[in-house]
C-alpha cells in the first residue's frame, strides 16, 4: 500500500515492527523479502520522493559541496524517488570475488567480517531480483564462437578471463511497485524523508518524516533500517552523532570516512590480435562482458588491488611499424593486430582522508548539507600501473602483441578523475567498532535496533559494480531480521 504524505493530513503517529528509510534497491529488497518471510510483521517504508522523478527543488535536498581533489557531483549520481538510483542505473552486475572479502594488509585492504561462501545463497537470490538468469561468471561456459574471441589464458599464473552479466536493467520502482502496492503488511510512505530522530542509549525509538509539502508524521519502530544510498545514509548517521547519541558505531573513527568510488583508468594501449572482444556483447544466454583480471595468486603475491580490464577498439595514431607484429621469428602468433585502449576498473583502497562531513549550511528541510572530500589514494595509480605493465609483458610473452604505457598519476589525471556513482565505504562492516560502523549483521555498533543497508557498509570494494552485492546483503539482512524476531 502507498500513502502519499504530500496528499494531506495523516494521523500524526505510526507504529511498526520494521521501519525502512529509503526505497532504492536496498530498501525495497529488505521490505519485500522480510514481508515474504514474516508476513505478520508490520513494515513501513519511508521514501523521500514520490513515484515520479523528483523536482529540482527536491533534488536540491541532495546538494552539497565537493571539496576533494577532483570534482564530484552530489546530485546527479543519485536519484530521489521510489526505486532510488535504479531509475537510471546501467545494470552492470557481478558479485565480488572471494579474494575481495579477505583482508590483505600489504595491499591496504581491510577485508570483510564475512566471507563469500556466506553470501553465496544471497547472491543467487540477487540474480533473481535483478532479472539475471545466469549466475555463471566463468567464460568457459560461453559458446565456442565467443570463446575464440578471448585471449587464451589457460594455465597463466598472472591473468584470467571473467565475465560481467547485465540486468535489463531492472528499475526497482517500476518492477516492484505493484508488489508493494498489493502487500498487506507493507505501507510505503511517499514524500516522507527522515528528518529527525529520537533515541535512548541503545535504541532508535522514533523517526519523524516529512517533506517540502510541510506534512510530518512520527513513526515509532522496533527496528530501523537506513537504506538511503551510500552518501545519504552516512549523512543521517552523522546527524545522529551530532545529536549526541553515544552509540559506539556512531562514534567510530570510521564513520563517514573512507568514502570510495570506482574511477575509470586508461593505463595504455595494446596492439593485439584482431577481433578480441572484451566489451559488452550478446551471448546465447544474454548479454555478457568478458573482462581480464589478475589471478588471485597474482593479487596476493604482488599485493595488487583487484582490477578488471576491458578493451576498446581504438583509432591509434601511434602503432608499431606495419608488419612488425606478424613475424613468427619474433614470437608473434601472426595475423592482423588491432589497437585497443585498455579501460581498467581498479578496486580503490579505503582512503581515510576521503570523507563526508556535515556542513554548516542547511537544506530546505533544515538538515545540514554534506561536504564531500573525495580523494584517491596515490597508491591506487601505482597498483594500476603495475598490473597493466605486467599485462603488457604477458601479452608479449604469449606472442599476442605489444603494449604501450600511458602515464597514469599525473596532475591532470587526478584532477579529472571521475567516479561511477558507486558510493561506498562510509559505514563499514567490521568485527569491532574501532574498525567500522556496523557489525556482521549490519547493525550499528552499540545499538539494539539500527541497521544499515547499501554500499555504505562495504569495508572493501573489489572492482565489481556494487548493486548486485547491495541486493545480496539486503536479502541477507531480511533473513537476519526475520530470524531474530520483532524486537
Amino acid at each position: 500500500m502507498f500513502t502519499n504524505l504530500a496528499d494531506g493530513p495523516h494521523s500524526a503517529n505510526r507504529q511498526c515492527d520494521l521501519l525502512i528509510l529509503g526505497a532504492g534497491p536496498a530498501g525495497i529488497t529488505v521490505a519485500l523479502e522480510t514481508a515474504a518471510k514474516a508476513p505478520d510483521l508490520n513494515i513501513i517504508v519511508a521514501e523521500a520522493g514520490g513515484l515520479e522523478p523528483s523536482s529540482a527543488a527536491e533534488l536540491d535536498l541532495y546538494a552539497g559541496d565537493s571539496e576533494g581533489s577532483s570534482p564530484y557531483s552530489l546530485s546527479t549520481t543519485r536519484l530521489r524517488y521510489f526505486g532510488g538510483t535504479s531509475g537510471h542505473w546501467g545494470g552492470w552486475c557481478r558479485p565480488l570475488d572471494a579474494i575481495d572479502f579477505i583482508a590483505r594488509q600489504q595491499a591496504g585492504l581491510a577485508g570483510w567480517p564475512i566471507n563469500k561462501p556466506e553470501l553465496m545463497s544471497h547472491y543467487r537470490a540477487a540474480h533473481q531480483w535483478l532479472d539475471i538468469p545466469d549466475d555463471n561468471y566463468d567464460p568457459k561456459r560461453l559458446e565456442p564462437g565467443l570463446q575464440e574471441k578471448l585471449i587464451d589464458f589457460s594455465g597463466n599464473e598472472w591473468f584470467q578471463n571473467r565475465l560481467f552479466h547485465f540486468s535489463p536493467p531492472t528499475r526497482f520502482g517500476t518492477k516492484y511497485r505493484s508488489a508493494i502496492e498489493q502487500s498487506d503488511s507493507i505501507e510505503c510512505l511517499l514524500n516522507a524523508a527522515a528528518v529527525s530522530y529520537e533515541h535512548t542509549d541503545t535504541r532508535l525509538n522514533k523517526v519523524t518524516v516529512g517533506g517540502l509539502h510541510g506534512q510530518q508524521i512520527t513513526i515509532q519502530a522496533n527496528r530501523v533500517v537506513i537504506a538511503m544510498g551510500g552518501m545519504e545514509s552516512a549523512r543521517h548517521l552523522l546527524l545522529m552523532q551530532q545529536q549526541g547519541w553515544q552509540a559506539a558505531g556512531l562514534n567510530s573513527p570510521k564513520l563517514a570516512r573512507g568514502f570510495a568510488d570506482h574511477f575509470g583508468l586508461r593505463p595504455g594501449i595494446l596492439q593485439l590480435q584482431a577481433d578480441r572482444i572484451y566489451q559488452r556483447t550478446e551471448s546465447s544466454t544474454g548479454p555478457v562482458m568478458p573482462i581480464i583480471t589478475p589471478t588471485p595468486e597474482a593479487l596476493t603475491s604482488e599485493a595488487w588491488q583487484n582490477a578488471c580490464m576491458m578493451l576498446q577498439i581504438t583509432p591509434a595514431a601511434n602503432r608499431l611499424p606495419p608488419g612488425y607484429t606478424n613475424h613468427q621469428a619474433l614470437g608473434f602468433l601472426g595475423g592482423d593486430t588491432w589497437s585497443y585502449t585498455v579501460q581498467m576498473v581498479l578496486q580503490p583502497r579505503s582512503n581515510e582522508n576521503s570523507r563526508l562531513e556535515l556542513s554548516t549550511q542547511t537544506d530546505a528541510l533544515g538538515l545540514p548539507r554534506i561536504k564531500l572530500f573525495w580523494e584517491i589514494d596515490p597508491r591506487d595509480y601505482q597498483s594500476a600501473q603495475s598490473i597493466f605493465t605486467r599485462f603488457t609483458h604477458e601479452i608479449g610473452r604469449l606472442g599476442l602483441g605489444r603494449g604501450q604505457l600511458k602515464p597514469l598519476d599525473t596532475k591532470l589525471r587526478r584532477r579529472s578523475a571521475s567516479g561511477t556513482a558507486h558510493h561506498m565505504g562510509t559505514a563499514r562492516m567490521a568485527e569491532h567498532a574501532a574498525d567500522g560502523v556496523v557489525d556482521r549483521n549490519l547493525k550499528v555498533f552499540g545499538t539494539d535496533n539500527l541497521y544499515v543497508a547499501g554500499s555504505a557498509v562495504f569495508p572493501s570494494f573489489g572492482y565489481s559494480n556494487p548493486t548486485m552485492t547491495i541486493v545480496a546483503l539486503a536479502h541477507r539482512l531480511a533473513a537476519h531480521l526475520t530470524a531474530t524476531g520483532t524486537h
Partner: protein, 366 residues
C-alpha cells in the same frame, strides 16, 4: 644509414594514421620483394636473410636509436651481444631455424624476467631491440620500395563517385553491419580493379560491369580511425596485373563541431530556448523508431529557438539537424542503437559555443 626514403617514412609515422597507413602500403610492397642485403650481420647468410625479412623491424630499430643512443653501435658489437643473448656460438653462421627458435625463446624469457626497453612507451624486450637495431643497420628500412613501385597511369575513366565527405565521427554511407562503402561509376574497369583509401585496400566488388563498390567490411578499426580524424585521404584505383594505379580523388573528413567545442552546459542557455518536449526516448536494440530510408532513426526536439548551425550530439558524435516550425529533427545512424544501453542527447552550436542537454535515449534489449 643512407636510405633516402627513411626520413620521410619516419616523418609519416609520427604524423598519425595517414603516415601509418602510407607506411603500411609501402612496407608491404617492400617486404614482399625480398631486397638484397646492404651489410652482412656476421651471423651468416641464413640469418641475414631472416633479418632482412623482418619487415617493420628496421623502422623500429631507428626509433630505438633515436630514443636510446647507446644502441647506436657498430654491427659487429650488436651481433656479438645478440649471440650472447641467444646463447649462440661466438662465431660461425647460424642456421635460420636455430636463429628463429632462439630468438623466440629469448624474447619470451625477456618478457618473463622484465628485461625490457621502453620505446615510445611501447614495452619491448632487450632481445628484440637488439634485433631491430641490427636489422636497421644491416638492411635499412625501406630500400627498393620506391624503385619497384607501381606506375601511375590512367586505368579507366571514372564518371562519378561518392560519398566524398563526412564529419569526423560519422560513418558515411554505412550499411547493416556498420561498414561504410564508397561507389565508383567506372565503365569497363578491369574486373580485378581494387580501390585503396589512404593506401589501404578496401574490399572491392564490381557490379553489372559498371559500378565498383569498395567496402570497409572486415576493417572496422581502420574505418573508425579514418573517419574519426579530420583530413583529406587519397583514393586510388589499382590494377595489379599491369602494376599500375590511378588517383581518383580525395575523401574529406571535416571537423566534428561538438568534439572540438569548449562547451558550456547551463540550465539557462543563452543560445537555446528550453526544450519543450522530445522523442523518441526509448527504443529496442536494433529497432529504429521513426525509421529513415537508410535505416537510421529519426529524433525530434520541440524547441522554440536554436542557432542556425545547431547539430545533434549523441554520445559525443555530432549529426546534422533540420529545423522547421519550431521542431528540430535529426537522424541517429543504426550502428549507434544496435546494443542495449543509453545515448545521451544534446544540441550543440559551434557559433554560440554552447551545448544544451536534452536527455537520455534508452535502448532496451530486444
Amino acid at each position: 644509414m643512407s636510405n633516402p626514403g627513411r626520413r620521410q617514412f619516419i616523418r609519416y609515422t609520427s604524423g598519425g594514421i595517414a603516415g601509418a597507413a602510407l607506411l603500411a602500403g609501402g612496407w608491404w610492397k617492400w617486404t614482399s620483394m625480398q631486397q638484397p642485403m646492404m651489410h652482412a650481420s656476421g651471423l651468416g647468410a641464413d640469418a641475414d636473410q631472416l633479418l632482412a625479412a623482418l619487415g617493420g623491424a628496421g623502422v623500429l630499430g631507428e626509433w630505438i636509436i633515436v630514443e636510446h643512443p647507446d644502441y647506436d653501435q657498430p654491427i659487429v658489437d650488436l651481433t656479438q651481444q645478440l649471440r650472447s643473448r641467444l646463447q649462440l656460438p661466438a662465431d660461425g653462421p647460424v642456421p635460420a631455424a636455430q636463429f628463429s627458435e632462439q630468438l623466440q625463446q629469448s624474447i619470451q624469457q625477456d618478457f618473463a624476467a622484465a628485461a625490457l626497453l621502453a620505446v615510445q612507451n611501447w614495452q619491448l624486450t632487450r632481445t628484440e631491440a637488439l634485433v631491430a637495431v641490427l636489422r636497421f643497420k644491416t638492411a635499412g628500412v625501406s630500400a627498393g620500395a620506391i624503385a619497384q613501385a607501381p606506375i601511375e597511369q590512367q586505368i579507366v575513366k571514372i564518371a562519378n563517385w561518392g560519398p566524398r565527405t563526412t564529419t569526423a565521427g560519422t560513418l558515411p554511407n554505412s550499411f547493416g553491419e556498420g561498414f561504410s562503402a564508397l561507389w565508383f561509376d567506372a565503365d569497363n574497369a578491369p574486373r580485378w580493379a581494387q580501390i585503396e583509401i589512404n593506401n589501404r585496400r578496401l574490399f572491392t566488388t564490381y557490379r553489372e560491369n559498371r559500378v565498383l563498390v569498395a567496402s570497409f567490411q572486415g576493417q572496422r578499426e581502420f574505418q573508425q580511425q579514418l573517419f574519426s580524424q579530420p583530413g583529406e585521404y587519397p583514393i586510388t584505383l589499382h590494377d595489379d596485373m599491369s602494376n599500375s594505379w590511378q588517383h581518383v580523388g580525395n575523401f574529406v573528413v571535416t571537423e566534428a563541431a561538438a568534439n572540438e567545442l569548449e562547451t558550456t552546459v547551463a540550465a539557462e542557455n543563452p543560445a537555446f530556448c528550453k526544450v519543450k518536449n522530445w522523442g523518441s526516448r526509448q527504443t529496442t536494440a536494433g529497432v529504429a523508431k521513426h525509421p529513415q530510408k537508410d535505416g537510421s532513426m529519426g529524433v525530434w526536439i520541440d524547441i522554440d529557438c536554436a542557432p542556425a548551425d545547431t547539430r545533434l550530439s549523441v554520445n559525443e558524435q555530432s549529426f546534422k539537424t533540420h529545423s522547421s516550425n519550431g521542431v528540430i529533427t535529426s537522424n541517429i545512424p543504426p550502428e549507434m542503437f544496435q546494443q542495449p544501453g543509453e545515448l545521451s542527447l544534446s544540441l550543440v552550436s559551434e557559433s554560440a559555443g554552447t551545448q544544451l542537454e536534452i536527455g537520455v535515449l534508452v535502448i532496451q534489449p530486444n
